[in-house]
Amino acid sequence: MPQVPLNLYLELSAVLFIIGVIGFLLRRNPITMLMAIELMWNAGNLAFIAFARNFIDMSGQVFAFLVITVAAAEAAIALAIVVMVFRRRENADVDDISVMRG
């Protein structure tokens, strides 16, 4: 089976990462922003696994597992905070959440 070259994986991960960044910048709903962030994190995962495959080294894969675990915890916390904000405001548009400035 012909192997997919490392560069293609990296290019894909870079594209995913940039899509994530753009998504974060363009969306105003915190949940969508979180999804964009997940995309960025998983771009990192993809790069890790590609490198691990390339080096035949386990540590990259371990890192990826760890990122997935942390991502779950992080999503739980972030959603809880969003819910907390939503309960008071009946609205979760990040542009409306700007009491503090200057």
């Binding site: 974060f24 910048l25 990040v94 542009d95 700007s98 009491v99 400035r101 200057g102």
Partner: protein
Amino acid sequence: MADFFLGAVPLILLFPLVGAATIALFGPYVQRSASAFIGCLSIGLSFLLTVGTSFVIFPLSPAQQTLYTHSKFVGYWAHLPPDLIIGFRLLIDPLSLLWMLIITGVGLLIHVYSVSYMASDKNYRTFFAYMNLFVFTMLLLVMADNFLWLLVGWGGVGLASYLLIGFYYDRPVAVLAARKALIMNVIGDVGIMLAMFLMYAHVGSVSYQNVFGHVATIGTSALTWIGVWLLLGAVAKSAQLPLQTWLPDAMEGPTPVSALIHAATMVTAGVYLIARAHPIYDNAPAAAELVAVVGGVTALFAATIGCVQYDIKRVLAYSTMSQIGYMMLAVGAGAFAAGAFHFMTHAFFKALLFMSAGIVIHALGGEQDIRKMGGLATRLPFAYWTFLVGAVAIAGIFPFAGFFSKDAIIDAVLKLHHPYLFVFTVVAAGLTAFYMFRLVFLTFLTGAYRGDHEVHAETERTMTVPVAILAVLSLIGGWIVLPHHDELSFLLRSTFADAPFPQSMADFNGWLSFGVLLIALAGIAFAWVAYQWRPQIAAALHRSLGGVHALLTNAYYFDTIYHWLFEWPVLALAQWLRDAFEVDAVDALPALALRAGAYFGSLSNRWETGYLRRYGLTFVVGAALLLFIYLFVAHGATAGAAP
């Protein structure tokens, strides 16, 4: 027991500091009497330890008498030159012990005296905190084992003096006097600093041991300069010519302060400095000569002024100046033990005089003008008799303390061949007797009471007991040096062993002593004639010598000269600079800078819009820029590294 006292030496220094801090921190939460108690207790403990240490040190053989505590904090402040190591350790030797005994002993008496003297003052606690601070810094000054820590104590006593002269801070005169004293003293501090710089340049150290151990290698010219700069410090602190003008003004402070700081202890720091640095002066005869001349001239100069002043405390201030002149003359001439001896007896009788005068002032509700006194001997007998003891002692009448110490100095000056200075001292001795008894007659005798205040009789035990103790000391204090029994020189022998003039003060020159005694008696007799027997003689003299009288009343116009020489040009320049630059240029610059800063700040704040997406955008753009710069820099580095 010996180990206990030697181990407790740092506590001597520590007690007054702890006392000052305790009163300052907790004073407002305790009773007034408690803060006074703490103030007296801390000094009392220091005194007890000092006495104990003296009993340990003095019997030792000369080689063992110099003792250093363990060095603490010999660290570095990274930016000192590595070879300049300044540790903090204390030096105990007979010379510093003598000063410590006087500082804590007389200090204790004056603290006790202040308990009732200051009782009605609203800043009672502050007073005791300042006094304890003074004792701490003064002890630091004499216990330091190098010039840097000496300077720390030196500046510290200057600060305490400043605070206490300006103690009645609602009186503008007092504030001005405090400021004047501080400025004069800082001139002296600069002198000591310059001396230290020279020491460091030539020896690489400022510790007594290193500097005095290397005097032979320094070279006479540099050594003379060190001596001169040290003298500048001594002159400022001890109110000698030409930096003497602050001391009379310092009498604006409370009377116990005048007794402790401006008579007994602080103003003699200059004498201590010269005596401590005697290896320098032994090897720099020109500097030593200058010290002697300054002292001798001041002794006469101040005595003449003292003859015409009407403020009881100012007379005493000029007398202090004159007596310190004697001490400076002694240490300048090389008679170190005699200088130290006069310091000791002077501390007794001058503190006594100030405190007796304080009883009078207290009884008269703050009146200090002797023209408004008179006839107080019957109303204030205790003050009269103690003041009389002090006056007799300072006039140098046998067998009171002043006779012995003054005689030792005059004798030494004659032996060391300073003919002019010898004449000065003899004349000043006569004048001293005259102005002191002028004071006695005008205050306590001479007709009826002339003032308009009611006289409150003194009864406070805390005021009379210390005064009585000092009166006794003024009588017997000189007996430490009796013919064929020179205890003091013996005690100080280890400190001054290497001084070239091994004077034994037990060597009385009978005729000289008798002559000086006669001159003093003549001064007293003249005072009696002019102020008690025939007051019209004084009035006639006053009329016929109007010019001289004006000159003396204004203290030779030194203040006026300094005003036109230093103060006026500076103030005029400052006024001109203010008119010409300050408003338009100097004030405008900070304002401009502030406006520019606020503008930058507002840029930074306005970017902080509160909108999350703005933050995200900034983050991402910042990251992109950073990466771009990084690639640029890293590419440059690798391209540069490539051949």
